[in-house]
């Protein structure tokens, strides 16, 4: 294990994006990173199944993206910063995604924040 990270694996509810995770989820993250290109966004918006097929996503990967299952996507190995692009394309804000990671509704999450209107 990377000695710089020793101890961090004990933190509950925390995922470290390392080379093993990156390799496992490379295809999915490449698909999400692709949303930085307008043509990929257009294809996904007009025909998501065609976009999944083009990227050769697995059945499970397709389900997680289709359902915007944020907690499962992170657990699987999606990089938050690639998921952020999916959020923008689907009109989902970062606080909504964070609420998803925590297993909360947006309203529940906002109750824990100091300035819930700062979105």
């Amino acid at each position: 294990m990377n000695p710089q990270l020793k101890g961090a694996e004990k933190l509950a509810g925390t995922y470290l994006f390392d080379l093993a995770t990156s390799a496992k989820a490379l295809r999915l993250n490449r698909f999400l990173h692709g949303f930085t290109t307008p043509a990929n966004r257009e294809l996904f918006k007009s025909d998501p199944e065609a976009a999944f097929a083009k990227a050769a996503l697995s059945v499970e990967e397709r389900r997680m993206v289709r359902d915007l299952d944020w907690a499962a996507l992170i657990r699987y190995g999606a990089s938050f910063f690639c998921l952020e692009k999916l959020g923008r394309v689907k009109g989902v804000s970062n606080p909504e995604m964070v609420a998803g990671f925590r297993g909360e509704t947006l309203e529940e999450f906002l109750k824990t924040r100091r300035v819930p209107g700062a979105r």
């Binding site: 961090a8 509950a12 925390t14 995922y15 992170i74 970062n94």
Partner: protein
């Protein structure tokens, strides 16, 4: 010869740029953030640096994990604004100082800092989210930048000690540039936040305030810490604070922190700190007088916890 006037540490959350784009200056939810940047904006307008050297991270906007550079130096005269999923922000392309950047590439590599270089790649909110708060375009940018990208996304990421040393090497590189240029060093990212798992939304104001103290007073203590410490204290994305360490490493031991602001509205602690080198005195009495809001700003920031 080129001269370093000071440094800026700042968060780079995309919502900072979003608040600027949506003109939220007078929105009570955002006004404390804008107020906190005002003294930095005034300081830059007075000192008129030619170049801001940015230590920042890309967010899988331009670089992807098929080849993710640990350190990458931009050497172009212009950088497009990155499309992060909504089309690029409506701000002009960033202007680069290719002369200084090429010199820095030579200097760093010959100093055994084998940095990779990039040309005209798009740059994301890691640079321009905070940039518009303190160096806004009107209509074009007031000066040029030199971007230095640091991997904080995919472990292994460079150690805090290595980022500190990168800052020191960048200082040597800048100060050895023969042209009379005024340079300010910027480090972006942090402070405490975590964007994954059930621990998402984690913040630690106590640690953030300690970090803001140590980065000025005892940065070597921060450089000696491990990533596991940063993650435990400031969340997985709190590791971005190593870019502040690179900035601080490029400043002299005599630098003074003259302003800071801290605002924690949502998921990320938004902080800014301004450092001034002893040689960077204001040009005139008028300029000195207009510095007062900066000190008041610092007091306000400390008081508003």
């Amino acid at each position: 010869m080129a001269k370093i006037l000071g440094g800026i540490g700042t968060s780079h959350v995309p919502t900072i740029g979003g608040a600027y784009d949506r003109k939220k200056q007078n929105d009570p939810d955002w006004a404390p953030l804008f107020r906190g940047y005002e003294p930095v904006k005034v300081w830059l307008a007075e000192r008129k640096p030619d170049i801001l050297v940015f230590f920042y991270n890309d967010h899988a906007s331009t670089f992807f994990f098929d080849h993710y550079p640990t350190f990458a130096l931009g050497v172009s005269a212009e950088y497009p604004i990155a499309d992060e999923g909504l089309g690029p922000r409506a701000i002009p392309p960033l202007k680069g100082h290719a002369g200084l950047a090429r010199h820095m590439a030579d200097a760093l590599v010959n100093d055994e800092f084998d940095i990779s270089v990039f040309q005209d790649l798009p740059i994301d909110h890691g640079v321009h989210s905070p940039l518009t708060m303190f160096w806004p375009p009107s209509p074009d940018w007031p000066g040029k930048i030199v971007p230095i990208e640091i991997n904080v996304l995919q472990h292994p990421i460079p150690t805090p000690a290595r980022c500190w040393k990168l800052g020191q090497a960048v200082r040597r590189a800048v100060l050895s540039y023969p042209e009379d240029l005024k340079v300010v060093i910027v480090g972006t990212g942090g402070l405490s936040h975590q964007m994954n798992g059930k621990r998402a939304g984690f913040n630690n104001e106590k640690w953030d305030r300690k970090f803001l103290d140590l980065i000025a007073r005892d940065p070597k203590k921060l450089a000696a810490m491990r990533h596991a410490d940063y993650i435990r204290l400031g969340g997985t994305e709190g590791a971005e604070e190593i870019m502040w360490l690179a900035m601080r490493g490029a400043l002299s031991p005599r630098v003074k922190k003259i302003h800071q602001n801290y605002y924690l509205p949502m998921t990320t602690a938004m902080a800014v700190a301004l450092f001034e080198e002893p040689g960077a005195k204001p040009a005139s009495r008028k300029a000195r007088a207009s510095r007062k809001p900066s000190r008041n700003g610092a007091r306000r920031a400390r008081a508003s916890t």
